[in-house]
């Protein structure tokens, strides 16, 4: 890919945009890694674009954001610590082809030593040709319910006891963006409140708690539900559990909820019920584990052994799902097909909503003027397909068979316009 000078104005033409909750036919302007408004460029700066790109009627949408991904391509973020950097960069690069431009590497329930080792090394990065950007670490555990551990190793699950213990277990939290906690655990509410005051988002999940526990957590600052339906009490009409947070009238702000739309972790009917109940809250996550991108066989997640057969990954010797091996673009396609949502709604679930969860929607997850130019060119003739991935205005991935991104010089440098 040719390298474009950072101050060049690039005008993407012959495209449609996912903007303002709908699809509009409009040109798309980028400069200095940001999406810009061409109107002041015309009337104030009085210049035209330096380069134009013909998008051949592609659909442009913000880059996907995956806030729950445990590893992939043979690497796991919670183990293989000596290969951590290699693993993160392999995953970051690999997921560009799935349309993900930002992600939260997720660390499952692990011994304290792992947190102390890993957390300082997984820094936030802006993303680029080398791979998707890191928005912050997602810590899923160890302060979870032993009854709802899912694939997490039970021996490393911890009781909370107090804020100090949380800090002792985790170590330095500077690189952490999101923590999943079971709200019914004694001491949880205080910890949630404390973490929020430090700017870390909190999610409820892997919980045996009821709706009241969930509501108390939200009123103390929790804003997300980790993989709705999975690793929590099922919805009951007299005891809705955490699922009831989707419609609770006793919380001070609406919650977002993660959903793994791989056709395995959530029944399509459940997906539809959740979406129809609270459409603005749905966040697509992959919860992908080390086997993603590898195919069938034996792999590990956290400290556990996993068997992958077809599209399913299960803990060896059990029927428990060990995490998913789905890609984000697959989730988007599945969501459209199974939940009957519009293309715009599905894209928002993978872009705007996760950006809102992370408090980053002023810069990520939209095509608004001033946002980072992390975007995708999609084909929507048929199921959605990622053609090109851009980070900071630079093309970082082109699907085989996609049109080459050709930058056309708008006017020769030596030509002057005489007045």
């Amino acid at each position: 890919m040719p390298s474009i000078a950072s101050s060049s104005i690039v005008q993407f033409k012959n495209c449609r945009l996912v903007r303002g909750r709908t699809i509009v036919k409009d040109d798309f302007w980028v400069r200095g890694g940001r999406i810009i408004n061409p109107e002041p460029v015309f009337f104030e700066e009085k210049v035209q674009a330096d380069l134009t790109v013909d998008c051949h009627d592609a659909l442009i949408c913000p880059g996907f954001i995956d806030i729950q991904i445990n590893g992939g391509y043979g690497y796991d973020f919670s183990s293989d610590l000596d290969k951590l950097e290699e693993g993160v960069s392999t995953v970051a690069k690999g997921i560009l082809s799935t349309g993900v431009t930002s992600f939260c590497p997720t660390v499952v329930t692990s011994p304290s030593s792992v947190y102390h080792e890993v957390l300082p090394r997984l820094k936030r990065t802006p993303g680029g040709k080398e791979g998707a950007g890191i928005l912050g670490i997602h810590l899923e555990g160890p302060f979870i319910s032993p009854e709802k551990k899912g694939a997490h190793p039970p021996e490393f699950i911890q009781k909370i006891e107090g804020i100090d213990k949380v800090h002792d277990i985790y170590g330095n939290l500077d690189n952490v963006g999101l923590i999943t906690i079971a709200p019914e655990l004694p001491g949880a509410l205080e910890v949630i409140h404390h973490l929020r005051s430090k700017g870390i988002k909190v999610s409820v999940g892997h919980s045996n708690g009821n709706l009241e526990d969930g509501e108390a957590a939200v009123n103390n600052g929790a804003s997300f539900i980790t993989h709705l339906f999975n690793a929590m009490l099922p919805f009951h009409h007299r005891d809705p559990g955490l699922v009831g947070l989707l419609t609770s009238q006793r919380i001070n702000q609406p919650v977002h909820y993660g959903i793994i739309a791989d056709g395995i972790h959530t029944h399509p009917a459940a997906l539809r019920i959740a979406h129809r109940t609270h459409p603005k809250g749905v966040v697509l996550v992959t919860d992908a584990m080390a086997a993603m991108g590898l195919g069938e066989g034996h792999h590990h997640i956290g400290q556990m052994e996993v068997l992958v057969k077809g599209q399913k990954a299960q803990l060896v010797g059990t029927n428990t799902l060990a995490g998913a091996i789905v890609t984000m673009d697959s989730c988007v396609r599945h969501f459209i097909k199974e939940a009957g949502v519009t293309v715009v709604e599905a894209i928002e679930a993978a872009t705007l909503h996760p950006a809102q969860v992370m408090g980053m929607d002023h810069l990520k997850g939209t095509l608004d003027f001033g946002s980072d130019a992390d975007f995708l060119l999609l084909s929507d003739k048929g199921p959605l397909k990622v053609l090109n991935t851009f980070i900071g205005g630079e093309c970082v991935y082109a699907a085989p068979g996609a049109h080459c991104i050709e930058y056309t010089q708008q006017r020769p440098l030596e030509e002057k316009v005489f007045s």
């Binding site: 109107e39 002041p40 015309f42 009337f43 009085k46 210049v47 002057k416 316009v417 005489f418 007045s419």
Partner: protein
């Protein structure tokens, strides 16, 4: 080519060379002036000029008022777009020779802009060597307000074409000194070499740009206070909050538009019919400012059927008989 253009544009008159004919023509002219057919009179006068000149270099199509009547506003938009394209392409603009176009805003020219954008995208017209001057802009609303004329021009025209932004001039209603802004606008027009073709619309009260009834017919670009009718009509675009509706605007003057080498006024819809009648069948009057163009050497009044509803049948019939001649423009797509 030129005589064909003359025919297309429906000019009245031929060339009368004999003295006898000249005398009877003068008498006819007197008769016509008395019967208040200024359009016909102007046309006749032009041919009189030609015959007395007897070989002077003034072109036979130098002075004309043309009334082009088309079926509906869609055809008006198409004709106007094709005419602009033809004028620009015939002018052969280049880096040292810009075509200067005066432009309006509002519902009437919207269709024309759409067609121009379509033809531009089809490669039939480039605006690379075109300079534009818009007629007007509100005072005191942000440039990017969705009701500003900057926004109108950006959304409907500028963003779709290849005009150099430095050559797209719109009055700045937020300039620190509005009088200076107006003066500088006049100067910029002069520096650009004057306006080759000014396209405009007409208000129901016969105004052109914001030159509302009572405006001086020799006015220049200036600040105008809007009348109550205009403000009330605009309220719906500002959430019906009267405090938000602009009370003033910057506008080119009647004199400014009269200085253009050619003027094309679009008139569509029955609500403009009376204004069209006052514009061309009555006298020049500052209460109907567009009537000033009766005294412009080269004007086209481009109308749809509905806009002619208040004209005399004989006026309409006369110009319609010239339809066959100028409909060639509609038959031929821009090359």
């Amino acid at each position: 080519m030129k005589s064909r253009m003359n025919k297309e544009m429906g000019e009245v008159g031929g060339s009368y060379r004999s003295y006898g004919l000249r005398v009877s023509r003068a008498l006819l002219l007197l008769l016509l002036s008395v019967s208040c057919w200024p359009v016909y009179a102007v046309a006749a006068a032009s041919s009189l000029c030609i015959s007395t000149c007897g070989g002077c270099p003034c072109k036979s199509d130098k002075f004309k008022m043309r009334l082009v009547i088309l079926e509906d506003s869609e055809r008006v938009a198409e004709w106007a777009a094709r005419y602009i394209i033809k004028r620009i392409n015939d002018f052969s603009p280049g880096p040292n020779k810009f075509f200067v176009l005066g432009l309006p805003t509002g519902g009437t020219p919207l269709g024309t802009y759409r067609k121009l954008v379509q033809y531009h995208k089809a490669g039939k017209i480039s605006f690379k060597y075109v300079k534009t001057f818009n007629m007007d802009e509100y005072v005191g609303i942000p440039r990017d307000h969705d009701q500003s004329y900057h926004s109108f021009m950006w959304e409907n025209f500028f963003k779709h074409i290849d005009i150099d932004p430095a050559n797209a001039h719109v009055l700045d209603g937020n300039a620190p000194n509005l009088e200076t802004e107006c003066q500088q606008y006049e100067e910029k027009i002069k520096e650009a070499g004057g306006i080759e073709l000014f396209m405009g619309g007409i208000g129901p009260d016969g105004h052109i740009a914001f030159n509302e009834p009572g405006s001086s017919l020799v006015s220049r670009t200036r600040v105008k206070t809007l009348n109550q009718e205009t403000i009330t009509a605009n309220a719906r675009f500002f959430g019906n909050d009267m405090s938000k509706v602009p009370k003033q605007a910057l506008t080119v003057g009647v004199g400014t538009v009269m200085d253009a080498r050619e003027v094309m006024v679009l008139v569509t819809g029955s609500h403009k019919a009376y204004a069209l009648h006052m514009a061309i069948e009555e006298g020049v009057n500052h209460m109907w400012t567009v009537s000033a163009f009766q005294q412009h050497p080269r004007t086209i009044m481009l109308c749809d059927e509905d806009a002619t509803l208040e004209l005399k049948v004989k006026t309409v019939k006369y110009f319609k008989t010239l339809h066959d001649i100028h409909s060639c423009l509609m038959d031929q797509e821009p090359q």
